[in-house]
Amino acid sequence: MSANQLALWYLVASVLFVLALKGLSSPVAARRGNLFGMIGMAIAVLVTLAITKKVAFILVAAAIGGMIGAFVARRVQMTQMPQLVAAMHSLVGMAAVLIAIAVVNNPGAFGEHDPLPRGNRLELFIGSFVGAITFSGSVIAFGKLAGLGKMFRLFSSAPVVYKGQHLLNLILAIVMIGFGLAFFLAEGKAWMPFSVMLAIAFLLGVLIIIPIGGADMPVVISMLNSYSGWAAAGIGFSLNNSMLIIAGSLVGSSGAILSYIMCKAMNRSFISVIMGGFGAAEGAAAAGSGDKTVRSGSAEDAAFLLANAESVVIVPGYGLAVARAQHAVKEMAQKLIAKGVNVRYAIHPVAGRMPGHMNVLLAEAEVPYDQVFEMEDINGELGTTDVALVLGANDVVNPLAHEKGSAIYGMPIIEAHKARTVLVNKRSMAAGYAGLDNPLFYMDKTMMVFGDAKKVVEDMVKALE
């Protein structure tokens, strides 16, 4: 196959990748889009295999990886998606680093001049340090998301902060770039500056993720998603491979947009998330609520209110998924719909642990997606809703977000407080991630139903019969 033919096949694959992403504009088109993505990948791999010598050797490696991937994809629980995605980012990062090392070792194998031309070395340096940061950063993010903090302190979901942290990171970044430039300017293979640069990049990946707390994880995985794309694009530059550049840029911009959406949903600036330390020591914030009274009721009382409502909006939070109550909620909603109640779900962008996570968790419980609404689409209707049922959510329905001077002022919320009656299920009165008290709980029209979400919802289902 000529280089031109190869490039044209790569173009076909690139177009298919764009179509795969374009399909995600609706659930129906998305399945076809995913198929386009698979075909694109198959084309890319097959035409590349056609120009290599050791097909069997490569296929063995691919088969081992492929089997692991297929096994995990089949087995993973939807609540574990954030960890899985973090783990996958780390693999892309590591693959980028390994390829970069192989390029330095033998540029000839990639159709490059030996030693590597200077321009390609700059790109290789960028691709490999982004890859290394993606790898080690994603490993830490994986540990935090999988709750491995007890095993290893760096995996703790609480931010790891110390004095001079940002200065240290800055110095390391400058030193890393210095060695990268030394690699760029050096003659020959220049292993020394290259490997020192990589080692610092691996360390930096760890150091920049440890100060970021559990609450900011949706931003972190989106950001690492973006990095993994830029790493792939960087490798594409150094190999002069347009398809890798295109695929990498698509992924890079996707991750960047998701990071932006997540930051906006939490009303946090990207810089403050990166600086980390959020949610570290704010336990005292909820103090002073002793004189306020809370009206609490049983699951049966709640079921009575729900059954007599005309319209109900369910606001699920991550607490719902932790309690594995999604199926019970869906059953309850069906019972209500059968009684003629208009039931809808309101999803805050950061309701789960990653962008769109809550939608997947509800879809898994077979909640029809046309009952599920995004925050902006349903907020206008909460004023005319009879009952807002808040399940395992806290900060995303906190009306303090509308009050100047509060820590979460300006954060977009689901306006559950506008509904005629508000039912809130929580395990206890503990504060949410932001460490803030929630005035919603003390409103006259609010009834708290304490207890485990699954147990409470199951009791409601029983009471509805």
Partner: protein
């Protein structure tokens, strides 16, 4: 204006245009599908496997070729894992038409 265009410049052209395409395509993705978006972008960025195949490819199985093979393995985890888990999620967003009708009856 003389001479040929440096490949790096062509790469840059491709890069900038691809970022533009990405920007416009991604803003059209419905927020409900952001998790499948992340898993499918994971699979797509694993097209880096192409670089890994080239690294593993040369005749003599040296240190670089072994690293390439390892990279093929790592990227293959993502290629299969990414597309399959995306497909699994998207199946969940399928309308359960027959079942819904049963409930109405």
């Amino acid at each position: 204006m003389t001479g040929t265009i440096d490949p790096t410049v062509i790469n840059l052209v491709v890069f900038v245009l691809a970022v533009f395409v990405g920007y416009h395509v991604i803003w059209n993705v419905t927020p409900a599908l952001h998790t499948p978006l992340m898993s499918v972008t994971n699979a797509i960025s694993s097209v880096i496997i192409v670089g890994a195949i080239l690294a593993a490819g040369p005749y003599e199985t040296d240190f670089g070729a072994i690293l390439g093979a390892v990279a093929v393995g790592l990227a293959a985890v993502n290629v299969f894992g990414g597309f399959l888990v995306t497909q699994r999620m998207l199946e969940m967003f399928r309308k359960k038409a027959p079942k819904a009708e049963k409930e109405k009856a």
